[in-house]
Amino acid sequence: MTVLDLPSTRQEAWRWADMATLRAAAALPPTPAGVDPADLFLDLDGPRLCFVDGVFEPAHSRPGPVEVIRQIAATDHPLGSLAIGEGWALRLGAEHAATCIQIVHLGTGGENHVPARILLADDAVATLVETFAGTGWANRLTAIALGKGARLMRSVRLVQSEGFVSIRDEAEIGEAASLVSIFLGAGGMGSRIDGALTLTGKGAFAEMGGVLLTSGAQKQEAAVAVRHEQIEGTSRQIWRAVAADQSVASLAARVEVARGAQQTDGEQSLRGLLLQRTATVNLKPELEIFADDVKCAHGATVGELDRNALFYLESRGIEAPQAKALLTHAFVADALARIGEEPVREAFLADAATWLEAAL
């Protein structure tokens, strides 16, 4: 009865969380997905894993270096701690590389919980793409530890037609290591993308950002905290939200700079675009700085499409819906441009474009 232990929206960190949709998603009876998991993979060579309702599906998988194992959640996060049981782990030794790993999570209803662990030894490199599709409540905990100079690029798209996806990332980023996680919420589901990134080594780089697209009565949110513990760390939190109809998109981003974490370079950019005035974008940028030699750029804005720009495009012959699509696409593109691999970036941009066509 996990549902009883859910956080309350009376808690500040959960004030925008859509626990009603999460509960409803968990109670959805399983129905045939009508989606072939094979169609959810991008056309990339590389290891593939498919989980259907949180259960590993060997028929659609070729896991390569990724192990499928049972795990115990080592977290006190209220949702992350529920992600126990069968999951996956990627452990790479020093200087090893594993690229274009794809993980597909397909839900047919009810709740499913999958723990994951990514451990990269010194100078190891991995790239990973995750896709959430179908329905139900998908709950994930991903624990990440990067050794000296290790690099992880992770791209996650949420395209469930309904239900709820909750993601909790907990990462420790070692000396000169780099973590980039980019998220796209472009489905009809509710979501909570939740992260705690800690820069534990000198000169580490941490990035978590992306795009939330909401319509109808949908609610999506991202809540990320980045903690700089060592000197010369760099962090980026670049989020864009586009909200239509009566939907709500919420972005909470926090940067903590510990005493002594000098020459920290933090950037936080939260921007929301309202397609209708009935929609809501909540932004909560937070900085907590205990060092004195720190650069933390931050910006938070919510607005509508620029009427001058719309008229400019229309005056050149572009119809109003296309003009809006062009401007909205441009608004989200810079957040998705952070995805390093071109085919992945193109696929995410295409998902965003599909959403925009439907919403505008």
Binding site: D306, R307, N308, A309, F311, Y312, L313, E314, S315, R316, G317, I318, E319, A320, Q322, L326, L327, H329, A330, F331, A333, D334
Partner: protein, 247 residues
């Protein structure tokens, strides 16, 4: 080509154009001059179809069509080009992408074949070269980080690519140094000086008219044309100011 009869227009309920009448034929260049606040930019926006600029009475026909009934993109497809006094910066959309979409949207509207990427690039490069604009600027986001002169050259590159029948150019000379002014003036002559085309130049000063010789000059004051004449009128205005004429 363009026939404006007794046009009244308002912004936020305030009447700006108060019975403007003007007729522009193919092959002609008209200059509309006037003091600040006379309604010059409003005229451009009303003809372009900008939201909030409402024609309350009178008529405007363009090649026999009721222009005021058309959406802005339909006016463009019909062959009208509005050059902006302040071209808008559009981060995240490249000039090439914007202009190709625009050119092809107009072509679609007219039932013409679409330009391929290669065909479009060839056209865009040729127009950029003719205006003295670095082809690299075509790849940059629309007007972002462009100087005042670069923005106005970019307007002319757009005009060259879209090849309109009627260009309404609002203060195209503002913010230009002498080289850019010359380039823009030559651009207007090259693209628009043709028997089947026409230009309406909206300007405060006569200096652009040294490069683009108007056939007719009109003085706009308090929402109406108060005087019309030949090119000599521009010089008279320059000498004597608007005060004496509008009075």
């Amino acid at each position: 080509m363009l026939n404006i009869q007794n046009l009244h227009a308002e912004i936020d309920g305030k009447e700006i154009l108060k019975g403007l009448t003007l007729s522009v034929n193919a092959g002609e260049v008209h200059a509309i001059m006037g003091p600040n606040g006379a309604g010059k930019s409003t005229l451009g926006y009303v003809l372009g179809g900008r939201g909030g600029y409402e024609a309350t009475s009178g008529s405007v026909t363009f090649d026999g069509q009721n222009l005021l009934e058309l959406a802005p993109h339909e006016r463009a497809a019909a062959g009208l080009f509005l050059g902006f006094q302040y071209p808008v910066e559009i981060p995240g959309v490249s000039n090439v992408q914007f202009l190709r979409e625009a050119a092809n949207a107009q072509r679609r509207h007219r039932g013409e074949a679409q330009l391929s990427g290669a065909e479009f690039l060839k056209l865009a490069r040729a127009q950029a070269a003719a205006l003295g604009m670095d082809a690299e600027m075509l790849k940059r986001p629309v007007n972002v980080g462009f100087s005042g002169g670069e923005k106005k050259r970019n307007e002319m590159v757009q005009m060259g690519i879209l090849n309109p029948k009627l260009a309404i150019l609002d203060e195209t000379d503002s913010g230009l140094d002498i080289d850019a002014l010359k380039a823009v003036g030559e651009g207007i002559n090259r693209i628009m000086r043709a028997p089947d085309k026409a230009v309406l130049l909206i300007t405060h000063y006569q200096r652009l008219l040294d490069y683009v010789k108007p056939d007719f000059v009109h003085v706009l004051a308090d929402g109406r044309i108060v005087r019309s004449g030949g090119p000599e009128l521009a010089h008279e205005l320059e000498r004597e100011g608007y005060g004496a004429l509008a009075a």
